[in-house]
Symmetry: C2
Subunit: 536 residues, 2 copies
């Protein structure tokens, strides 16, 4: 009886709680709804602010559509063209792309595809025309099957896929349109003719709009992204070395990879392959749009490849900051000066390359300055002057260094505790944890323990930290990778010089080498490249 009462009172308490919860939820929801229009407005604004050319493009599409609609809306124009003016409207929707190169590529593909399909359809029509009604239907069906299969198969050829894929789709579409229509429509010549010239009108409007009204060039984008990639890498390499030699306190905040400014610096370069290739493909369709001799889009792609290879070394360098065995900071300090100098010289060289491309002039002959050579030399001397560091076997010294490291880590952990309220001391650093974990794992049922992932200590990390590797090893890796960046810098310089030669950059004049970093806001062009659709 008393238990029932307790239950009942608990139920009312629960109900009250539930009500409270509901009220709260509704409040939160209404708050969210109130803020929603503001958020949407903010988001809409952001897309335009990120790259104002998007607004220009949207207006251009609107204007072109209105212009092409006039064909249908204005009486005298409609008289001439007729009902099929609607094909011109469709063409504008699907052909007008963000950049001039992409529009040209699609427009010409569309024109060519339509023309070819029309010719082939006439040939088929010519044969089919001479036969009976039933045979004609069978013949058209067979032709549709064969041409459909063959054209689709052709789209898998790498070369065709890269350059003429859209043309093949339009070919297939127009071919089917004309061949199938020819069964019922007597004057199929008129359909084909109308389709061809309405599409031509549509393409014409698109080309006019994209080439002469605030044109946006793929080539320019390719140029600008190359400059910003070089600048990003330059900042990245300096930031990397700075962080390696900085105080541990400053590091604590950056424990998530995606928030890391260094990661942000090279991420763009790593992911640039497909974007670069698309830009280069579109740039290859663009007419010469400046006084420069010709647009070496292929060389930009090559430079992009070399930059990606350069950035892999930086990724590895960045990995040194987060590796499990760390050289104690007291040891690192010994090499701080020459390393920082090497990094700053490499960074300066990259900045000079960026500014050379930006201003379309040859890069300074002083680009690999004596400073770099000196800095490398000093690094070499510093390493040679500290031979004992590379000794791992001197027990007392090793334990000394380990003690130092332990002290640093304890300090570090304390800081982390202060900041996050999380204790890291429960992570076992001896290999007994290995055995323990294995035993645990053998017994448990994987499905019944969703927390397994969090419970599990990082197994191989234990294996690594439990070994007392020479602490100089990671520093040696760091130094070696830094020297490697210098070697790879050479390839970058070579490709930039080649670019300068092909693109007829200006001569270098003394005084040009002043690197003015005006810190222009970086535009994420990736978001601009809308996927292209658009048969009709």
């Amino acid at each position: 009886m008393s238990s029932t009462r307790v239950h009942a009172s608990m139920d009312t308490a629960m109900a009250a709680l539930d009500k409270e919860k509901w009220k709260k939820n509704i409040h939160v929801l209404s708050e969210k709804l109130r803020k929603f229009p503001g958020l949407v407005w903010q988001k809409i604004g952001k897309v335009g602010r990120d790259d104002p050319r998007r607004i220009v493009h949207a207006l251009k599409v609107g204007l072109s559509l209105t212009l092409v609609s006039l064909l249908y809306l204005l009486e005298p124009l409609f008289e001439g063209i007729g009902q099929n003016a609607i094909w011109a409207v469709m063409t504008v929707v699907v052909v007008l792309e963000f950049t001039a190169g992409a529009t040209l590529c699609k427009g010409l593909n569309r024109g060519l595809g339509t023309l070819l399909a029309g010719s082939l359809a006439f040939f088929i029509e010519f044969i089919a025309n001479k036969s009976g009604h039933v045979f004609r239907a069978v013949f058209i069906g067979a032709a549709v099957f064969l041409i459909g299969g063959a054209a689709t198969y052709m789209r898998f050829f790498p070369h065709i896929k890269k350059n003429y894929d859209y043309g093949v789709v339009i070919f297939l579409l127009t071919f089917n349109l004309i061949t199938v229509s020819s069964y019922r429509v007597t004057n199929v010549l008129r359909i084909a003719h109308q389709r061809l010239y309405t599409i031509a009108i549509g393409c014409g409007i698109c080309l006019l709009m994209s080439l002469f009204v605030f044109p946006i060039w793929s080539g320019e984008d390719l140029h600008n992204t190359t400059v910003s990639k070089l600048e990003g890498l330059a900042k990245c390499i300096e930031a990397c070395v700075n962080e390696y030699f900085s105080n541990p306190e400053q590091e604590v905040a950056q424990d998530k990879l995606c928030d890391d400014p260094i990661y942000q610096g090279y991420k763009d370069v790593l992911d640039s392959k497909s974007r670069d290739e698309t830009l280069a493909l579109h740039a290859s369709w663009e007419p010469r749009h400046s006084r420069h001799c010709r647009y070496p889009w292929q060389q930009y792609v090559k430079l992009g490849n070399v930059l990606r290879h350069f950035s892999y070394t930086i990724v590895a360098l960045h990995g040194c900051l987060r590796t499990e065995i760390q050289t104690p900071r007291s040891v690192r300090v010994l090499f701080k000066d020459p390393c920082m100098r090497v990094a700053s010289e490499v960074s300066k060289a990259l900045m000079e390359l960026a500014s050379s491309i930006k201003n379309r002039r040859h890069c300074s002959p002083e680009i690999l300055s004596d400073h770099l050579h000196e800095a490398l030399h000093d690094l070499n001397i510093a390493i040679k002057s500290q031979p004992r560091l590379f000794l791992g076997s001197k027990k007392n010294q090793a334990s000394n260094m380990l003690a130092l490291q332990a002290a640093t880590q304890a300090n570090h952990q304390k800081h982390e505790k202060d900041h996050h309220g999380v204790s890291l001391s429960s992570v076992k650093t001896d290999s007994s944890a290995l055995l323990e974990w294995k035993n645990k794992r053998g017994n448990e049922q994987p499905k019944e323990n969703p927390e397994r992932k969090t419970l599990r200590p990082q197994l191989s990390k234990i294996a690594i930290t439990s070994l007392e590797f020479s602490e100089a090893l990671p520093f040696a890796a760091f130094a070696s990778l830094l020297v490697e960046t210098v070697a790879r810098l050479d390839n970058v310089i070579e490709e930039v010089e080649e670019l300068g030669r092909i693109a007829c950059f200006k001569e270098f004049k003394p005084g040009d080498e002043v690197v003015v970093d005006c810190e222009t806001p970086k535009i994420d062009v990736t978001q601009n490249y809308l996927p292209s659709y658009g048969a009709d």
Copy 2:
């Protein structure tokens, strides 16, 4: 006079030579023409052999097109649908994609876009209907401009671009079609209605074909590429360490990066980002197509990211094989055994992960075996037992090692000469070349010397090799990176376990761990993903 005769005789000789040349050219050309059909045939065959599903897809497209043409060709069907049956044909051309997921994504987008555009167009029509002829034209023009601009702007929103871009394009197309037509056609309801159901018929045929006739799943592709990426990395890491410790004679042939099997191994992983994301997007549209609980496409993308990060370390490791300062082979040999064992254990673990994903079962709890731990331990001991190697300053010993290295290099060069007939001895290895190059460059005119690139010695490489860095430095980097791969392996294992948990993999049974590498031919799925077009 005699000089004229000489000239004349030279002219006849030249003419004879020219004729000879022409004949030869024509012969070469005719030979090429004769071989051309064979080559084309070979290429056509290769596309199909690379992935036979391409043939299936081509046949499916042909069949669907024929089926949909029947709507137009068969009398009773045509009676019901009429002239606009052609829209169904168009829908099939543009919606039927290689995989089921992509087809579903496009089909549903197309349906949704058409529906929305139809509704909006009716609303506009409703308003415009009540006004005069001229006002109506202006109103339609304004609506086309506004909706065109707004829809295009919307396409730049990342979320819409990723999921609904095609839908927005179709919306715009249908909206324009109906609104503009409504100016001349009285019964616009019929157009909209017909368009909607012909498109529905087209989409229906496409979905039937892609879901029930030899379906090709994006999810399966994502699964298989993940397995082959893991296998590629496993082979890559072993090949890398093998090459590092192999004899120099075997290396000579692999001087071009693109022919390098190691490069081939990780290249796929590096370039996989956009392909993985597309596959995952399409997989997310696919219905549950197997008895497994649900398709964790997002987890595959995460695993792909971790694998890419893993492969950056391998790129750096690979860089160690080609760096300028090399640890002499006599020194490397001292560490050969433990390094090879670490690499083979890492490789074994990756293979086990690959087979675990391939067979959809949890991976062995023994995946990080004691062997790995032992191998790391031995590597540590080996490094500690050779402290003198990490000493760069002991003059006599350093020069000893340099002499050794010089001898090795001379040997190496001799081999290269034998193979290529190219002498490398002209490359200056002292820093005087630096000065020389600078002087040369200051004087020359860049435009007038196209060969400058080949003349120029590799500048910073000179700077690096002229310094006598401790030769142990690059080995330390190599060892450190190898240890780093073990640390990163942990992240890979974690993500694979998470994948196993989400995708409800089978329990691991003892006996499963036998890694059978059946060496299935690798399919390059990249080539399968045709760009998608296809408004109508």
